[in-house]
Amino acid sequence: MLRFVVRRLALLVPILVGLSILLFLWVRALPGGPAEALLGERATPEAVERVQRLYGLDRPWYEQYLRWVGNVLRGDLGVSTRTQHPVLEELLRTFPATVELALTAMIFAVGVGVPLGYFAARRHGTWLDHASVAGSLFGITIPVFFLGYMLKFAFAEKLGILPTAGRQDPLMDAEHPTGFYVLDGLVTGNPEAALDALAHLILPGIALGTIPLAIVVRITRASVLDVLHEDYVRTAEAKGLRPATIRGRHVLRNALLPVVTIVGLQVGLLLGGAVLTETVFAFPGFGKFMADSITARDYAVLQGFILFTAVIFVLVNLLVDIAYGLIDPRVRTA
């Protein structure tokens, strides 16, 4: 097992090194190069020269690269040209909100998707099955921001329930020791604040969770169908075991394995989707910050955030692999 983990970790190194080179070169490839990216269109030749000297941009590229990597490893991701605060500070400030949102989306996707997929498979060929297949195809194709708009229209505009902006009512006198508002409410003994934060998560969570939901439904349905046709299930049935026992002990447990993998794969989808969802719902997280940085062409932020996302994405997938290896020994040697 340890060897498996080490091998998987070693595989990450070239990916991360390559990615860092790519992102480093990315800023160099921007129209006008990094100095102009920093200066905007105010880049007079003198200003460019000044900035180039200030940031060592007149050195050979590999030297600059090593310096940049050194800075990144020390946590220095540069300064946001839009807010004039360090990129790392902005990242740490906005990321908890997005984690909270992504978790909500995932809980929604799995909580609804697994039962739905399971029952669709159990009632294979019925209207429920067809509806869930059609629904999941629809869920996959509907753009997140369009869905968000419709949710906003229905729940906030027409029905007048559920908030559509922010993370928490500003009147909540809530402490935020962790930055995760729901958790904060719970640990500071302020359940009102926690509930309020949760209410703010519902609509964006549903919008963001819909594509994962569709995928989870499909995977669960397919995998339950597979398992239902496995010999051991038929044997169990032949043995006369109670249907509930069969479902619980054999079908569901085996069918959920692929779902676990899929959940890991969704992290990238969620982080990308958060950019759109948070923009629609004025949710002050990582994605909203990123979207604002695009509009302002804040390259330092884009560079830092993309790198960070990639690292998270790769690490989560590693964890999923390891978890999978723990569950299923065959993977370790594969």
């Binding site: 200066l39 105010r42 929604f108 039962p115 906030a156 329930i161 902006a165 509009t295 062409r297």
Partner: protein, 558 residues
Amino acid sequence: MRRYGMPLRRTMAVTAGLVLVLSAAACGGDEETPGTGGTEAARGSTLIFASSADPAILDPAFHSDGESSRVTNQIFETLVATEEGGTDVVAGLAESWEVSEDARTYTFKLRQGVKFHDGEPFNAAAVCANFERWYNFTGLAQSDSVSYYWVTVFRGFAKNEADTLGKSLYGGCTAKDDGTVELKLTEPSAVVLSALTLSSFGIASPKALKDYKADEVSGTAESPQFTGTFGTEHPVGTGPFKFGSWTRGDKLELVRNDEYWGEKAKLSKIIFQPIEKAADRAQALRAGSVHAFDYADPADLESLKSAGAQVLERAPFNMGYLGFSQRTDIMKNQKIRQAIAHAINRENVVKTKYAAGAKVANAFMPDSLWSYSEDFTKYDYNVDKAKQLIAESGVSNPTLEFCYPSGVSRAYMVDPAGNFQLMKADLEAAGFKVTPKTSPWSPDYLNSTQAGDCPLFLLGWNGDFGDPDNFLGTFFQSFSNQWSFRNEEIFKTLSDAEKEPDQAKREALYKQANTLIADFVPGVPYAQSPSFSAAAKNVQGWVPSPVLNDKLASISLN
């Protein structure tokens, strides 16, 4: 109006049928507006104001954006102020003032018994310390993006570090006695008094400025970083509200200054919550989660009214224009400029994209400002005339590069991309070919228009104080890259007008300037529009200021 979240007295735990795991508190009772009937009395006097963004910095000397000054206007006060809801100069921290005959010496009698929030006394020495601070800025603090208004009004510093800065208008500040300040100018100026109403000239506690290292600026001129904490955690002034706390992206809290010298604020607290999009702010107000917001989208006004909210109108003190940079040959051609002026259906642009109450602008200043009169050349919408002028211009197949900004909405330009599209269609109908170019408002768009890179560009101006100089002088008093033309007659008329102490003569000079400008067609003014604010039904006493100098201390909730 339903609301959610707030005092959860009648909270229902709603478990939406499709949400198995989440159960959430939502949709409380049916209270009509926030703050009413709250269980705690304190909540009744907390105003939640939806701003459009976080402030850049809370140091008045260093900000030039409306969201910063909205907050600092409550914390700091200026020597002279604007009347509530208007632009006339009234007493502020100075009870009275005298201007010498040569318009070079201003003497201010200060209010007595005023204290800064940190307990330091407000007196003549404190005022002069502020002026000296501004005048002695060095390094990055001198750059346009940092101390914009000082540079605009006082032109330069003790030691100028850039060629673009001029000789400073500031000639010294003397504390005659504890309550008398004498401000000297190096040249006569009729504008300084109005300019001192700008929130950027708010008087700060000299001790706090020093303790919290207000003047420490690092980074680059284009992207300055404020390393001190004065502007982020410890802004200390004399105003009716004190700084409370600030979590960026989430909320900024001000609390009542109970030691305030004048009438104390009725609100115990103001919370500013940044909600970027106007439609989201409107929805938050309709839902009852905020009390008030600014920059309402004209499209939302009807729905706000029908939801029972108040819509407040700021008198138009702005103008939107289509500017020309005469750097290229085609824009130097006066016939082409006139053709453009005739080609654009300004009436339609204003009708389509602006709220009722907006008007077509004909001059580069609002028609409500003194010295405005309509005896200058006007350009009506006339496609045939435009075609004819193009034919006379000698330019065949005229192509115009046309820039418009993204990510911005102003009263004078609610939807820049919309204005652009309408104008593009008009220009094409007259026989122009249009090449679109767009960039984000700040910094790219502002920079490229200021540099004169855009032959055609959409811009506008919201007046800072009630003087034609703030409009005409800002645009056309001297050569600028933005317009890239030299017209000595216009330049001279405007600088004479700025220095002229006699009001009647000034008025005549500005009239003449408007005539000259209209004939020269440096651009096409097309819109002046009221801007709109909205407030919940129970918000009382908010008087929107045309120069965005709102004092929120007059607000109460019932």
